[in-house]
């Protein structure tokens, strides 16, 4: 079974090759290739994951012939392979869920480009997860940025181009800072491989020289990745990018791209700098504060929002705030909570985006709340998806969101008063805020329209102000709206069912998942 150690490298490489091959294919075959690719990567990651668990230790895989200080390395354990497995599941579901809709969103002759970008994005995500080399990480961060930009602007309308440009500018700013950070790291340590950097950093820290450059380096690396993953003050690009791109793109951007950067940040914390030094640098306190602000402000914006897609996008900002708050706690428990939240949020948010598109499709494509009234009755399966996602976000037991909330609170209890009370209160308040905007939407989509129409018609009769033809018009709307049944969009329905299952599985089997995460973190550092 030793050849399993090649699998991570293989999965990264086949994704890149598939991207190159796709550029010469027609839309249909590119789509087929992409499906096969994601399934293959899923299988490979699954085997790697099982192997890592059985193995009980991390594995270092040398790329090429040169050994450590010069060559390039891949290092993987339970956490990395598990994350790759999870990413491939979400990737698969997001693409399937948006496939039907893609016909309307992307011009047919550009379809193959979409899959080129997706394959590139996937390869870069896998590389970010697996790599043990800081510079390789940077290269793939850039590939990630460009392909992410591609999947935003592929839907060609004004809003997405504007969103794409905005995303590009903010993201490149982030990459720039990251690059500066990497350069300074190289400058003070002389290494690019993560394990080697860590040794030198420890020496620097104990010797007490070059401490200020070290802190600046940490700050640069963190800020760069925080911008890219839309932590609070740097989130302005996010609502448009998630709100107007194609549905698959939105699902992938929210649940994978930002999570890839966050995972890289975790890696930098543990493997490049060392968690103790990060803690001592007090930088985590900054992340903690911004995380808390993000949790509140993201939800506040979501409450004000009148457009379902943008509302979900704003909710992402709040959820990313949760993750950074977990980092900011500076304990292993906080980190475990954050990593679990990465999984839970990825599973939930992509489901919400996919369900939202089903709901808007049966409401004349309108994304405004008023038009969405009763849409869950017209597209049942999308309604169920949205309901599950909302309950999970609010933190109802049996869904994955509950376990994240539980873990965050559990982690918060062991903090000092200064951090514990703000964390607990903000968690409590943000539960209320989440409940406000998600439950509002759920009630809206489950409100039967015929009753509302009938009410209005009755009122019209009572006041006798509106002529009868107009009333017919109101009733006419009901019939005009398409009703989508499960058998019409089997793949879509199937995807939502898988999403719901995944969510409940994360909520119910959380014990196992958390155990994996803890093992993963132990292997990580």
């Amino acid at each position: 079974m030793d050849f399993v150690r090649n699998f991570p490298a293989i999965s990264i490489l086949i994704c890149m090759f598939a991207a190159i091959v796709s550029s010469g294919l027609k839309g249909r075959s590119a789509r087929l290739l992409n499906t096969v690719l994601v399934l293959v990567v899923f299988a490979l990651s699954l085997i790697t994951f099982a192997w890592c668990i059985a193995n009980g230790n991390y594995t270092v895989y040398v790329m090429g012939v040169f050994p450590a200080p010069f060559g390039n390395e891949i290092r993987f354990g339970v956490l990395e392979s598990g994350m790759a497995l999870f990413f491939s599941i979400i990737m698969m579901l997001s693409i399937w869920g948006g496939r039907q809709k893609m016909k309307d969103e992307v011009a047919t002759d550009k379809e193959f480009l979409y899959y080129v970008f997706l394959n590139l994005l996937f390869s870069s995500l896998l590389a970010l997860v697996y790599t043990n080399d800081l510079f390789t990480a940077y290269v793939f961060v850039e590939i990630n940025t460009i392909s992410a930009c591609g999947i935003i602007v592929i839907r060609e309308n004004g809003r997405t181009i504007e969103a794409g440009v905005r995303y590009m500018i903010m993201s490149l700013l982030g990459s720039g800072l990251l690059l500066l950070g990497i350069m300074m790291t190289y400058d003070i340590t002389g290494h690019l491989l993560m394990s080697n950097i860590k040794e030198s950093v420890e020496q620097i820290y104990t010797s007490g020289e070059n401490l200020i450059p070290l802190v600046v380096t940490i700050a640069l690396l963190t800020t760069g990745l925080a911008i890219k993953s839309a932590l609070f003050p740097f989130h302005s690009w996010l609502p448009d990018a998630y709100g107007y791109s194609t549905v698959s793109s939105a699902a992938i951007l929210s649940s994978l791209v930002s999570k890839g950067y966050i995972f890289l940040l975790i890696k930098i914390f543990y493997r490049v700098i060392g968690f103790d030094i990060i803690k001592a640098s007090k930088l985590l306190n900054v992340l903690f504060v911004f995380g808390l602000i993000a949790m509140i402000s993201g939800s506040m914006s979501a409450i004000r929002e009148n457009d379902i897609r943008r509302m979900i996008a704003f909710s992402s900002i709040a959820q990313i705030g949760y993750i950074y708050m977990g980092f900011g706690m500076g304990t292993t428990a906080g980190m475990v909570a954050s990593i679990f939240h990465i999984l839970s949020h990825a599973a939930t948010k992509s489901m919400l985006f996919i369900s939202a598109i089903g709901l808007t499709d049966v409401s004349h494509g309108s994304r405004h709340f008023v038009d969405l009234t009763g849409s869950a009755h017209r597209n049942r399966i999308a309604g169920i998806g949205f309901l599950t996602g909302s309950l999970s976000m609010v933190g109802i037991p049996l869904f994955s969101g509950f376990i994240s909330k539980l873990q965050f609170m559990d982690a918060a209890v062991s903090l000092s008063y200064r951090k514990m009370l703000p964390a607990l209160i903000v968690l409590g308040v943000s539960t209320i805020l989440n409940a406000i905007y998600f439950m509002k939407t759920v009630i809206r989509i489950y409100m039967p329209l015929d009753k509302l129409g009938a009410n209005r018609a009755q009122a019209d009769v009572a006041t006798n102000t509106v002529p009868s033809t107009k009333r017919m018009g109101i009733n006419g709307v009901v019939e005009e709206n398409d009703v989508i049944l499960f058998r019409q969009e089997k793949l879509y329905g199937f995807t939502i069912i898988l999403f719901v299952t995944l969510n409940i599985a994360l909520g119910v089997c959380s014990n196992t998942v958390l155990e994996w995460i803890r093992t993963g973190i132990r292997m990580f550092s």
């Binding site: 376990i403 903090l415 000092s416 951090k419 409940a435 406000i436 409100m447 119910v508 014990n511």
Partner: protein, 516 residues
């Protein structure tokens, strides 16, 4: 107490209504009456099972699943659980019977809508039994959240704008409150021996923080024992978090609004199941999780006490001001719930006895008065107090029952309301605190105000002003047996408890002392 039965029956007890209600949704009943029979049989079967389990209590609770190491879902009745479980198991079949008649008026011919209603209504029964059965805090929390969700379709039933707004308010308050209650849960899991309910509390006073991973610059180091003030603060979170459902003053505005729901919902859920679940949760965390040793005599007792006392008076005075019949009763519920909380916050076994007595008796009294109000609304379409003139003569059964429940709510001797108020007062005197004596003052003021707002209705109904023209009321008459039977049962109960309630009180004393 005779033989013990297997503890798997707990699961069956909770699952029976939950699974059975799926049948109500999906079985295409040929006739409405078949659905009614199915629902009633299901409810009665569950109630009987509940009583059987109570009298032949299994030895151990049953573990169903484990979330994360220390958090598990466990079902099992203890003394207090049986009291709450018994209350709802007794009331539910009658409420369902009443609802059959009432919903005919509310839903019209829409059978599909009705079966949705009864489906969720029965499901709520299972969830509430789950709260009663929960033998640790996490289980209670899980069912508590589920209770919020399954009652939403019931409140929003009419789908009017008012109902939607009311539902939204209810959801925000309840989910938010549970969010803060959750903080309590997490703290207890860290500073307690386990989350299981045990009379006297489960806090670990000796090595609370040793086991906990400690972050930089913390309390730990020097801290070898329980951070008492912190835990008291956490109790406040829990009190106000769960207090949302028990409608403590600043968090009570959802309850009158929820009055737009059909009467069986307001009566059973907003006078018994939902609000009592809030009070029950507070009793649980006070006596069974934190334990009174920590809380008694500290700010964690006085602050909630002040709020509870204020709510008693506030609820009554709002009820006097309110002219809408059901909303007036809802305000009265707010005030009465705080009686229970007041009893709970005295933090002595006597106080707990008082609280439990009032929990039981108020359930019977208030469901009776709500059902009367519902019968009036269903029969006449009149919803406001000033429209009640002269109805007493046309609907003697309904208003007779209403009069009895009014007198009982006021606390007239020989009716059960007297007994519970008496117990609360005894507990307050026994505690001897200044604040507890203030409580007696609040009870007296509230009794006076109760007399005003309840008797006003009774007097209007039976003694309209001189020269009142009864011919305008010709078409109104008492409702059918399905509505009258529950009322009759409740009236008999109120009188029976008033005369012979001592047995019940002794039983509750046993519960409060941990010997039942």
């Amino acid at each position: 107490m005779s033989a013990h039965i297997s503890n798997i029956w707990y699961v069956i007890l909770v699952m029976l209504p939950l699974v059975g209600s799926i049948g109500i949704f999906f079985i295409p009943f040929k006739k409405r009456s078949y659905m009614c029979i199915y629902t009633e049989v299901l409810t009665v079967a569950t109630s009987i099972l509940s009583f059987v389990i109570m009298t032949h209590r299994p030895r151990n609770p049953i573990d169903i699943m484990t979330f994360v190491s220390k958090f598990s879902i466990t079902l099992g009745y203890d003394g207090m659980g049986s009291i709450f479980g018994g209350l709802i198991s007794f009331l539910w079949p009658f409420a369902t019977l009443y609802a059959f008649d009432y919903m005919k008026h509310e839903a019209g011919d829409n059978t599909a809508k009705e079966s949705t209603f009864f489906g969720f209504y029965t499901m709520t029964f299972g969830v509430t039994l789950g709260i009663a059965c929960a033998s640790n805090l996490l289980t209670m929390y899980v069912f508590y959240e589920m209770l919020t969700l399954v009652t939403v379709p019931l409140i929003i039933f009419t789908l009017s704008r008012e109902a939607t707004l009311a539902t939204r308010t209810y959801l925000y308050y309840s989910l938010g409150g549970a969010g803060f209650g959750f903080i309590t849960l997490v703290f207890l899991s860290n500073f307690g021996n386990s989350l299981d309910f045990a009379l006297g509390g489960i806090l670990n006073y000796n090595s609370a923080l040793n086991a906990v991973e400690v972050a930089e610059g913390t309390i730990a180091g020097a801290m070898q024992s329980l951070p008492a003030d912190l835990m008291r603060l956490v109790y406040l979170f829990g009190f106000f978090g769960f207090g949302v459902k028990a409608a403590v003053f600043p968090l009570s505005s959802w309850l009158p609004k929820a009055g737009v729901a059909p009467t069986p919902v307001t009566a059973l859920l907003h006078a018994v199941a939902v609000v009592k679940a809030g009070a029950f949760a507070i009793l649980r965390i006070t006596y069974y999780s934190f334990g009174t040793d920590l809380l008694k005599g500290s700010f964690a007792q006085y602050i909630p006490m002040a709020f509870a006392l204020f709510t008693i008076v506030y609820g009554c005075s709002q009820a006097v001001r309110e002219r809408h019949l059901k909303r007036r009763l809802a305000y009265s519920t707010i005030s009465n719930l705080s009686y229970i909380l007041f009893g709970a916050l005295i933090m002595t076994p006597l106080g707990m006895t008082g609280a439990l007595t009032h929990m039981l008796f108020h359930g019977v009294m208030k469901i009776c008065s709500f059902f009367c109000a519902g019968a009036v609304i269903a029969g006449t379409g009149r919803e406001y107090v000033y429209e009640m003139d002269g109805l007493g003569r046309r609907m003697p059964g309904v208003f007779g029952a209403f009069t009895v429940s009014s007198l009982s709510l006021m606390g007239v001797p020989l009716l059960c309301g007297f007994l519970s108020k008496y117990n609360l007062a005894v507990a307050a005197v026994d505690a001897g605190d200044t604040i507890a004596c203030l409580g007696i003052g609040a009870l007296l003021i509230s009794a006076l105000l109760t007399a005003i707002y309840m008797l006003q209705i009774v007097v209007r109904a039976f003694f309209p002003e001189k020269g009142f023209n009864y011919s305008t009321l010709e078409r109104f008459h008492d409702p059918g047996w399905k509505m009258l039977l529950p009322l009759a049962v409740f009236v008999i109960l109120m009188i029976y408890f008033g005369l012979f309630g001592n047995n019940i009180v002794m039983l509750l004393k046993d519960v409060a002392n941990g010997s039942f």
